[in-house]
Symmetry: none
Subunit: 415 residues, 2 copies
């Protein structure tokens, strides 16, 4: 099992209505188990095109992973073509039927013929039970070939990949391992981080690759190592990581694909601290992110989205004369909001943001993108000023990231 | 010029390090000028694979658009393969050389051999000058074929598409137009919507295609029409849309790619209504979404994330005995929260949600996924119960969507 092709089926991808994130996910997973992805193809919901691809790819590659076109409606034809290709009938799988009925009845949706048809699978395939939706995955596995079909709904496909496909491919073995490790940084620009890390050769020693992946949440560093064994790869990665950390530790908020809200959540739990949030320009995003973490009720007490000035006064006790004198977007109001939310919630930490998300509402003195982030705790109140001149949603992302990073640093004694 | 294939070259896409947004962009543009994208392929920086794809696609499709592998470093081999494929030499183009020198000198970068090599182009091609970078686009245009190669850097590719490729393809004419129209629905399952619409032939009359695209936010319906002229296509789309609307109007919250928070925002503005939100399980997401819309301060007054019971009592005035007697996740508490946030905010509408996001915290009577959504306005308070047994973040998405949908329906007199 050395080579693979990925086949995505769906008109919506061809015409660019949907970006092919499924192929990216599958490519990553195959690459992690040491299998080389040679081609990634997209075709429409078109019988001849799908059949043509099946014929060519099944012959040419060890592993063929297909996704899309398994829904219950008329435009989904993948399953029929799969059955024709392997020259078998479609038969009802009782466990899939039970799953479909169970899932729909839980949602009080009547089970219809189109739903029952989702339990039809090509005779002789291994059914990959879909516990995250109604269309099952299907696997055709022989000595010399591995051909799997998965639904196109991203989280269903991802779960089927992770639960069934990846473990089986790992077992079959590829003769090499490719390992990645991600370190997530925030609060430093890509070029500054590059300079800070300095000579790449001295970090990588010719044994690893390092990629810089910037987004509005910060710069992700990805270390990639190809090696004969897992142990060998792990040791190279550990070495590279420790060199990077010795130069940029302060900016790294997680090793691996962990978001900062989870890092912050762990820290708060560990130190037995509680938090409350007062937001203006981020409109609830900071609270949303903190509560995305399961178990966050242990440390997250409440949040207030004080969009209007009255809300700032009534809910947080911000004095009217502060708003009059300095304006809603000011260091003074941010400070008062953070202290207010901490006081009324009786939490250890109060965080507040006030800024101008844009695209309108800016002035020469207070441009779009200006934001004040305040944090109040037993040690006092600190305020940070940032300017994030960006699109509205990216501004909200960046501001929420900077606020969570301020909490992280404060709890660690770095701010 | 009726059919097209898109070929993207680059290892980083195969292994999923980068999502193939270039193919999506090109697909959209081709589709807009009436050319049908039949296949989208990704191959690595591998001579044999690239050549194989060139041979097959140039023969099979009217239009072949290639992107990627034109950079100055050793791993970029596309240009060499293009020259081999057309059996011509690489020759220096003076205007490209001047462009390369000019761009680098402006950035104070020394011009090296690898940079000068970017001015090498296959003899006889039409150079598409890259004013946004150093690697030129290349076009091979004949009566029966249109073969273009573009750099892979997204904004360079996009500019070359928009400036050169799209106008030429328009001029050549596809002899047809392809038009799409999206209708977004929510609050109805894919299979139920399919049944509700009934006989597809009577809706589509053989002149259009209809795709069902489900996500946690609802089912998007995409109507696709291929026709001789724009007017003809528009008339078919209008006809199909009116048939769909006559059967499912209630569930359609937008025509086009508009999110429900924007639809709700427009309605509130139009009817001069204000809103405030009290959230428990969604943790701020509803407020976040409402404030993603520029200008939302005109109708959005404030939000409260009352995660703890004390927050529900202190901020919203929920009586302690309601919480004791019915529990935080109950119809009664949802009602009290909605009425509370409306009272303290003095808004026209108060919306509240309380539920169990999971994965922990469920009981047999109150399972993970259970949620109560309440809306209070001058006409009284209504409460809806849902069960969304899903992953935590998808649960939050679905609940926020259902809450916004309830606002939409209420404002329109449908709930």
């Amino acid at each position: 099992m050395k080579t693979a092709a990925i086949l995505t089926i769906g008109d919506e991808i061809l015409i660019g209505q949907v970006t092919n994130t499924n192929a990216a996910f599958i490519g990553q997973k195959l690459s992690e188990v040491g299998i080389e992805v040679v081609r990634t193809l997209v075709v429409g919901d078109n019988e001849a095109e799908i059949m043509h691809a099946f014929r060519e790819y099944e012959k040419e590659f060890d592993v063929v992973l297909v996704t899309g076109g398994l829904g219950p409606t008329h435009d989904d034809i993948t399953k029929k073509v799969v059955a024709d290709f392997f020259n078998v009938r479609l038969v009802t799988d009782d466990s899939v039927l039970a799953n479909v009925r169970d899932r729909l009845s839980k949602r009080n949706i009547a089970v219809r013929k189109v739903n029952e048809d989702q339990a039809l699978v090509p005779e002789g395939c291994t059914v990959l039970m879909n516990h995250w939706g109604t269309a099952p995955g299907m696997l055709f596995e022989r000595e010399e070939g591995f051909f799997a079909v998965m639904p196109g709904v991203p989280h269903e496909m991802q779960n089927i990949m992770t639960e069934y496909i990846v473990p089986r491919l790992k077992q079959k073995g590829a003769g090499q391992v490719i390992k990645h490790r991600v370190l997530k940084t925030t609060g430093i620009a890509e070029s500054s981080l590059f300079e800070l890390l300095g000579d790449m050769d001295s970090i990588l020693g010719g044994k690893a690759k390092l990629a810089f992946l910037p987004s509005q949440f910060g710069v992700r560093l990805r270390i990639t190592v190809k090696a004969g064994t897992e142990t060998e790869a792990d040791s190279v990665i550990a070495d590279v990581e420790s060199k990077i950390r010795s130069r940029a530790e302060k900016y790294i908020y997680s090793g691996g694909e962990v978001d900062i809200e989870e890092t912050v959540g762990r820290l708060l739990k560990q130190k037995n601290l509680t938090i409350a949030v007062a937001e203006s320009c981020t409109g609830g995003l900071i609270s949303h992110r903190l509560t995305n973490v399961s178990g966050s009720s242990a440390y997250y007490n409440r949040g207030v989205v004080s969009y209007s000035n009255e809300a700032k006064m009534e809910l947080l006790g911000v004095p009217a004369d502060l708003l009059d004198h300095f304006g809603a977007v000011s260091e003074e109001v941010a400070r008062s909001m953070a202290e207010g939310i901490r006081r009324i919630s009786k939490t250890d930490i109060g965080v507040a943001v006030t800024g101008i998300a844009g695209p309108t509402g800016g002035t020469p003195e207070k441009p779009v993108g200006l934001v004040f982030i305040a944090l109040s705790d037993s040690g006092g109140t600190i305020v940070r000023k940032h300017i994030f001149p960006d699109e509205r949603l990216r501004f909200k992302d960046r501001t929420s990231q900077a606020a969570l990073e301020l909490v992280r640093r404060r709890v660690l004694g770095l701010a």
